[in-house]
Symmetry: C2
Subunit: 339 residues, 2 copies
Amino acid sequence: MDERRNNLLKEIVETYIKTAKPVGSKALCSKFDCSSATIRNEMAVLEDLGYIEKNHISSGRIPSESGYRYYVEHLMEAEKITGSDMLKLQQIFANNELELSDAITKCMEIISDITNYTSIVLGKSSADNMLLQVNVIALSANQVVAIVCTDKGNVENKVFTVSETTNIAEIIKTSEIINKMLVGTPINEVSERLEIEVKPIIKKQIRQYETIYNIFYDAFNDFVSNNSSVHINGRTKIFEQPEYNDVAELKRLANKLEDVKFIEKVAKDNEDENEIKIYIGEESEFDPNVTIIRKKYHINGEDGTIAVIGPKRMDYQRIVSLLEYIDEKLDSRKEQNGE
Amino acid sequence: MDERRNNLLKEIVETYIKTAKPVGSKALCSKFDCSSATIRNEMAVLEDLGYIEKNHISSGRIPSESGYRYYVEHLMEAEKITGSDMLKLQQIFANNELELSDAITKCMEIISDITNYTSIVLGKSSADNMLLQVNVIALSANQVVAIVCTDKGNVENKVFTVSETTNIAEIIKTSEIINKMLVGTPINEVSERLEIEVKPIIKKQIRQYETIYNIFYDAFNDFVSNNSSVHINGRTKIFEQPEYNDVAELKRLANKLEDVKFIEKVAKDNEDENEIKIYIGEESEFDPNVTIIRKKYHINGEDGTIAVIGPKRMDYQRIVSLLEYIDEKLDSRKEQNGE
DNA sequence: TTTAGCACTCTTCTTTTTTTAGTGCTAAAT
DNA sequence: ATTTAGCACTAAAAAAAGAAGAGTGCTAAA
């Protein structure tokens, strides 16, 4: 891979990103000051190396997955964010009243809007949350709402209908017992300790302990299963990309983008590193025709992930610079808040 | 419209619903024991009346919007729900532990699954909710979570980062003042009364009243703007219908189905009646190519709407019977709960 | 090493032809 | 007064054929 070859591959990738059309040799000669035949010879080498491929024998070339990978690792310039992109995000961070988590959500909405890709914010992974407090509020003679709050500020609530004979005072008393015994317990262990430690206690003190136990058991279970916040913006934006011009393909992808659990799974960043990560095509584990770019973030001691889903032919440079910009701004705000 | 003509229209509508293909005269003669020419004569009349139309001069007929309307109003049999459909919903209501609102959500998921249409549950229209209680819980030295609860059991929470110098005790004191003064206030009037009545009071008692006032003001505002629950199931199910075989059409509809606010608006049932309502094509105000069927429900003193969005060529009978079944079950559970 | 030249391959677009499903109308039959 | 058989006619969809275009690979000369 000498310099010219690198430049050629870079040019092919970037042209294809811009036009979505296979790149032919003739279109490139002016840029490289040589004949199309020379370009063709070089292209043949790049094809042997597996970086580019063609749809059929006489078409122009498109980057292969390893071509894109080579591009993002060696060729892409870590260009600064463009002025107009920056402007739009700046406005969000200019508002100091805005909580950081809301700022991130807003940023990702904007990114989806300006880039026509799907963007995702995964926050509140309650996994390592601890129980801080459980409140019970009576709504009427036979309805109560149980509110569970964790140390990271995640709150879930559940309304319960109880029979008229159930004593609401007893429910509240039970909540006090739980607060005394279980505060600080990791939220996914609460159900277990509730059964083993709390149930025997309330059995003695509470008349209708069975019914009441079930209320809290359900409330905590609901917490664990519901408590993840996913924001998906512009789910259908990706369809505007010219490669999605086939009904079957469109339906296939639309279905996948419907499945929040699946998106959550592939977008979630469990790794330790703090870098921007790029998953191209098959690597994405979401769909062979998309690329996912994602970045972990930390605010208030909680982890989250922001991610962008676009076609493999996505504007890597732009997305990377946008995500980096958000990260910078986040850091400077955190310093400002003295964290 | 004599009997034969009614039967003919019914047959045309139902055949088209089943096959999605224009219905020709020949296919109908066996059912009516006459020649195709006779059918053609009758069809010409139905066309003059505006109940059926053809795509081009030599195609079979498809029902027009007024044809569908005539069908649902005069021809459709109020058939009982089929056994297999009933079975699936029965399982949900069999579980007496399940809160009714969760049961409805589950039912609509099932309906979307078994019918391949999009289904919607609109609940929690906090419009006529009253403030029941506001709680503040400290998470750390500079973070608090404010939890707002209404008399109907709607709960929203918001995390606030405050500067180290803000006294959390003062925040909690403010929440107590609010609880004393504003409990029972309709939720959408709370912000106003907070400004006019509460602000002057806390100005005297609370040192950092400006910052703290803003926290509560934001929390209530968030409540009003966030607090509507919309569940949309199978957003892309409708694409499985054979009429959606055109990329442009698909994108158009996919975009509309992305817009939760818009769906909420068209699905919401503000009218007084308690009947199942059917909006065909243009009537839907959502999209000329879809039908929306919806039904109001009441549980625990709150209104909600369930709705199904499908092609105009949707299985009216089936959806109506499914929604009726849910309504029946709801009623019997409410009696059981003594409401 | 580069380049001009040329045959060759596929795709895409346009046009033409064929097939098919259905109609409307007329005139005869019931 | 209906119903029906018969037939000419239409439009769409499918298949076939032709023409144009974009791009390649290879060879041989520069």
